[in-house]
């Protein structure tokens, strides 16, 4: 038993490492894998590597490819981890960050920032991610307040409030985009899931939120398992249902918001990965959440490699790739799962 518990982690971690290596190795500019490795080792403390490579190769690896790879992996992990939490929280395998309006709220915040020519100060450069983050947080507060009846939170009202607010936010976003001129291109690019930020700064800005959010979600595997029995039974089993739900929503939404803010809107990762993990390794959230986090990083890295390679030197927004590749894949899984039940 212990052996079979361990295996999914081994497989997933191995795939993640391979995806990380591939992401650093593959790019618009060819740099020999050995050179990549030596540049990489040369940057470790205490290691002194003699360099016979051009300075541009170092810049490309250390300041472009590596931070991009880390950002993508973090984004995928954050989206899939929070996706797993949402699915457990709503007891709905189709639930994802979009359903409660977090993503749309973030989109509205970002487009709002893009449509204003804000003054040049520290905020100006990160106005877009910061506004996206605020948009997501404000959305959670509004949706949560709307959905709560008295002291209790009904999952169905939460989803309804989320969907309604999401439509509103999307409509407002469309309106802002129609009114914008040159900003349209930028907003569209961002909404399609392509970040124009690069370098280490966005990675460092995003890291604390994602780390705290994911760590919190990792500790809540048992809670999510108990929630699957339904609110009443979970209560009877000794769980403080309202408090747990609130904590889950905050943790998952902050994680999503951080990912969306820095990487744009990327669909399907939060939906597909937990679903896939559940089909392959079962519904126990103590393993579903960590396996989803690892798997999310892997999947988004692969989608991102595809996005960079398919139309090179053009870079396709990664959200387009996840949606185009993810949706049919998801339908296929659904079809197979259905077939299993029917026959």
């Amino acid at each position: 038993m212990a052996h079979s518990r361990f295996r999914p982690y081994l497989i997933n971690s191995l795939l993640l490492v391979l995806a990380l290596l591939a992401s650093v190795a593959i790019g618009a500019v060819y740099i020999a894998p050995a050179t990549v490795l030596r540049i990489f080792l040369g940057h470790l403390p205490g290691v002194n590597m003699a360099g016979d490579w051009p300075a541009t190769a170092v810049t490309i690896i250390m300041q472009v490819r590596l931070p991009h790879t880390v950002l993508v992996a973090l984004t995928g992990a954050a989206l899939a981890g929070s996706g797993a939490a949402y699915q457990g929280l709503f007891r709905n395998p189709l639930a994802d960050p979009y359903l409660i309006g977090v993503a749309s709220g973030a989109g509205l915040g970002a487009v709002l920032a893009m449509s204003r020519s804000w003054p040049t100060n520290w905020l100006a450069l990160y106005a877009v991610p910061v506004a996206a983050f605020l948009g997501a947080v404000v959305t959670i507060i509004i949706v949560y307040t709307l959905a709560r009846t008295g002291p209790t939170l009904q999952t169905t009202t939460l989803i309804l409030a989320g969907v309604a607010f999401s439509s509103f936010a999307t409509a407002l976003t469309s309106f802002l985009m129609l009114r914008s001129n040159a900003e349209l291109r930028r907003a569209l690019g961002w909404l399609l899931g392509g970040s124009i930020l690069s370098g280490w700064t966005p990675v460092l800005a995003m890291l604390p939120y994602v780390t705290v959010g994911l760590l919190l979600l990792l500790t809540m595997g048992h809670t999510l398992n108990v929630l699957q029995f339904g609110d009443d039974q979970a209560q009877q089993m000794g769980l403080n249902v309202e408090r747990s739900k609130r904590l889950l929503i905050i943790a998952a939404s902050l994680t999503t918001a951080a990912a969306v803010a820095f990487s744009g809107i990327i669909g399907f990762v939060g939906l597909i990965v937990p679903h896939l993990v559940r089909l392959l390794w079962g519904p126990d959230y103590r393993h579903l959440t960590p396996l989803s986090i690892i798997g999310g990083g892997t999947l988004l890295l692969l989608a991102d490699i595809l996005a960079r390679v398919v139309l090179a030197p053009q870079v396709l927004p990664v959200g387009v790739v996840t949606a185009l590749a993810g949706a049919p894949f998801f339908l296929w899984i659904l079809y197979r799962a259905k077939a299993k039940v029917m026959w």
């Binding site: 618009a28 001129n181 349209l184 909404l191 970040s195 949606a323």
Partner: protein
């Protein structure tokens, strides 16, 4: 351009899937109504051999000498660079840059709706990256972060602004002498047109079509765009001037009320829309321009890219609106 146009539509279709319908068919490059950039004050210092400039964003740019390896981030910039004679110094250009033809031979560094290929840009080892008003500030930051020199060319709002941009780029690339002659030529062509237009007896009402995917609400160019400016300079009156944003959809009802004398099809460049297509549109048949058959195709790139071809656009505009003066 055709291939690029298909890509544009694919992306716009995908955007519709995301619930962002009605984004229209703007070309990738557009002059904005908002003067977001301060006109450049270009003052090369006489003391040191290095050149110091202040760009459109107010940033100080220093060059060891005229730039020799330049990357252009916008089609208008590419056109300006080649026009002033710096074409041979251009080592990279964005995907949309397709003019002059020689630009197509230069390395493609992405752009369009996707991201810039940072790796390719760095590998090309440019000594100057020429950004434009359409370049997002985050992108400029990302480029300066990796140690590149970025000059943001300000967005011109008038032909004189555009002439100043030509001079700026000439100084950045070391082509001042020939550029002064070129600017004088352009200015003379502009004067020749405006002198003729001054004698015109009427100012026809013009509808400039950017996109007619929805023939009941076609997209047009509003006040503050070069389309609007050049229509006015060419002796016409822009229907779109009443719109309060640079790019806007006008309802067919409003268009019927305005009843333009001339229709210019900028979307011929992007979707191959012809005067016959317009005449076949149901609600459009009563329009004066349709009745008189005064619908013309128009090279949108000459009015949407703020570069030297704006003067070509002005000449074409004046000829279309006042053929009697150019016989």
């Amino acid at each position: 351009m055709k291939k690029n146009s298909i890509g544009l539509w694919l992306i716009l279709m995908l955007a519709t899937v995301f619930g962002l319908s009605g984004c229209g068919g703007q070309t990738a490059v557009s002059p904005t109504a908002e003067p977001t950039a301060i006109p450049a004050a270009v003052e090369p210092t006489a003391v040191s051999p290095s050149l110091t400039f202040t760009d459109g964003l107010g940033n100080t740019i220093e060059l060891a000498g005229p730039a020799q390896r330049i990357i252009s981030l916008a089609p208008s910039n590419t056109e300006v660079l080649f026009y002033v004679g710096a074409g041979a110094q251009v080592v990279g250009r964005d995907s949309v840059s397709d003019y002059p033809e020689a630009a197509l031979a230069v390395a493609d560094i992405g752009g369009g709706f996707g991201e810039l290929a940072m790796e390719t840009i760095i590998a090309l080892e440019p000594d100057l990256v020429l950004a434009a008003d359409i370049t997002p500030p985050e992108q400029i930051k990302a480029l300066t972060d990796v140690g590149l020199t970025v000059y943001a060319l300000p967005n011109p709002l008038t032909l004189d602004d555009m002439f100043n941009n030509l001079r700026t780029v000439a100084q950045l690339t070391g082509h001042q002498a020939e550029t002064e002659r070129l600017v004088a030529d352009l200015a003379a062509r502009v004067t020749a047109v405006t002198d003729k237009i001054a004698t015109a007896s009427a100012t026809p009402l013009v509808f400039y079509e950017l996109d007619s995917t929805d023939a009941n609400a076609p997209w047009t160019a509003g006040a503050g765009t070069f389309v609007d400016t050049l229509i006015t300079m060419g002796g016409g009156q822009n229907v779109g001037a009443m719109m309060d944003s640079a790019w806007a959809q006008i309802s067919i009802e409003e268009l019927l009320v305005q009843d333009p004398d001339v229709i210019l099809l900028g979307d011929y460049t992007w979707g191959g829309v012809t005067p016959e297509d317009v005449a076949a549109r149901e609600a459009w048949q009563g329009l004066t321009a349709v009745q008189n058959n005064t619908i013309y195709t128009f090279d949108d790139n000459t009015v949407s890219r703020p570069g030297p071809r704006l003067v070509d656009g002005l000449e074409a505009m004046a000829k279309a609106l006042h053929p009697e003066l150019f016989e």
